[in-house]
Symmetry: C2
Subunit: 222 residues, 2 copies
DNA sequence: GCAAAAGTGTTGTTTGTACACCCATGT
DNA sequence: ACATGGGTGTACAAACAACACTTTTGC
């Protein structure tokens, strides 16, 4: 933070990159855009862009998220800053500050572009991405998995009301393994991260499910 | 003196800041330098500097650490990137990528300067630091405390061989609470992060202590 | 009445915590 | 002999993991 020598020969660029994750149909998906320009034209990549002048990092990430999905006010957290940027010769020097966001699939309106068009991809079947973006997704996934264990971040992936099975599906999609229904329910309720919401959901030829809601729809440790 | 916004179209700067921590005599200390130049002249601050041209972030942090302490190859990890820099009007825009490092007190040769001279300060009695550096130290401390629980990072604070009491002192200084000797020893040994080193240390008028060594002197999860 | 998902308790294991005394040494 | 830090075991509590059957509904 000390600002010493004011001469900046070729200033490094600051890019902000966002790993936007959602859960749909038992699958954890990440939003990718197909690159048009060099480098890596035609490759899938994480959405990102340069830090605008006078903009804070958090704000830039939030803006990028909104541009691609139309959503705001979701869980958004800084991940890591990568200092060795693109390998290509024509690539400019700089740092990439990465974030990850958790959005409800149903809330998203993907930006409709013909170039740089965004699209959901299962994190479990990712193609080779531009830059080191595969590593960034891996990093986000590790972070998300550990946060899931000691925070209520899942609130950002679900609507106000949901069933315990919905919640369990979210956990199973993220952790990529099956959980025991009874242990799961007991834990969620005893940690008081959720509470009964009163209503019931009747759908399909089976017993209706109790609806629940998160006690807080903001990040808290449990 | 114009207090208005001077419209700085200057590219954002990238600073690298390092929280260098050590444990000595039951105390956890951080290395601070006393600022000479604006802004905050005379204030204590974390060592840092601008990213040199063509340099990776990790390398810049490592270089800064070596410049101040003379040590290399210690535990060094990126912490967080702060995007809203100084509040002062005269401060330049930019991002600060922060790191934290763990060094053995005995290995350090502090840089001898009259200006920007470095000095150890107890993290439990910090003065008001320049910029938001107090928040950075807090962040480092939280991260270190949690890493201490599930990694072997303490290796970076101790010499090759040490006694279990040495190790416990390190943990207590960092966690800022007393630990039960028997439980501590049992846990360290059962996790196999350390192993008996064969020798004994005879000093003082009491029973000699077994020497131990870390099974790996590199970061591993336990 | 049957298919389909919702809901519900008990038991054993593991992990963590609290706690007090003897041992080897130098003076 | 005494002061100093080194070294050791047990009992209780809490957290976690495994496991199977009944309930409510739509068709």
């Amino acid at each position: 933070m000390p600002a010493s020598s004011p001469q900046t020969p070729d200033p490094p660029l600051t890019a902000v990159v966002v790993v936007i994750l959602t859960v749909v149909e038992d699958d954890l998906r990440v939003l990718l855009i197909r690159r048009a320009a060099e480098p890596y034209p035609g490759s899938w990549a994480l959405p990102g862009g340069l830090l605008a002048d006078g903009e804070s990092l958090d704000r830039a990430a939030s803006r990028k998220l909104h541009d691609e999905t139309g959503v705001r006010d979701v869980y958004l957290e800084q991940l890591y800053t990568f200092g060795e940027l693109p390998r290509g010769d024509d690539a400019r020097r700089g740092v990439a500050v990465t974030y990850f966001a958790l959005v409800q699939y149903g809330q998203v309106r993907l930006a409709e572009r013909t170039e740089w068009a965004p699209q959901w991809h299962s994190v479990y079947k990712l193609p080779a991405l531009a830059f080191d973006n595969n590593a960034v997704v891996d990093y986000a996934l590790r972070r998300l998995r550990s946060k899931l264990e000691y925070t209520n971040v899942a609130y950002s992936l679900l609507p106000r009301q949901f069933t315990l099975s919905d919640l369990q599906q979210v956990y199973e999609a993220i952790l990529d393994r099956e959980l025991d229904k009874r242990n799961f329910r007991r834990r969620m309720l005893s940690l008081a991260v959720i509470k009964p919401a009163g209503g019931r959901r009747m759908e399909g030829a089976h017993r209706p499910a109790q609806l629940y809601a998160f006690t807080k729809r903001e990040p808290v440790m449990v």
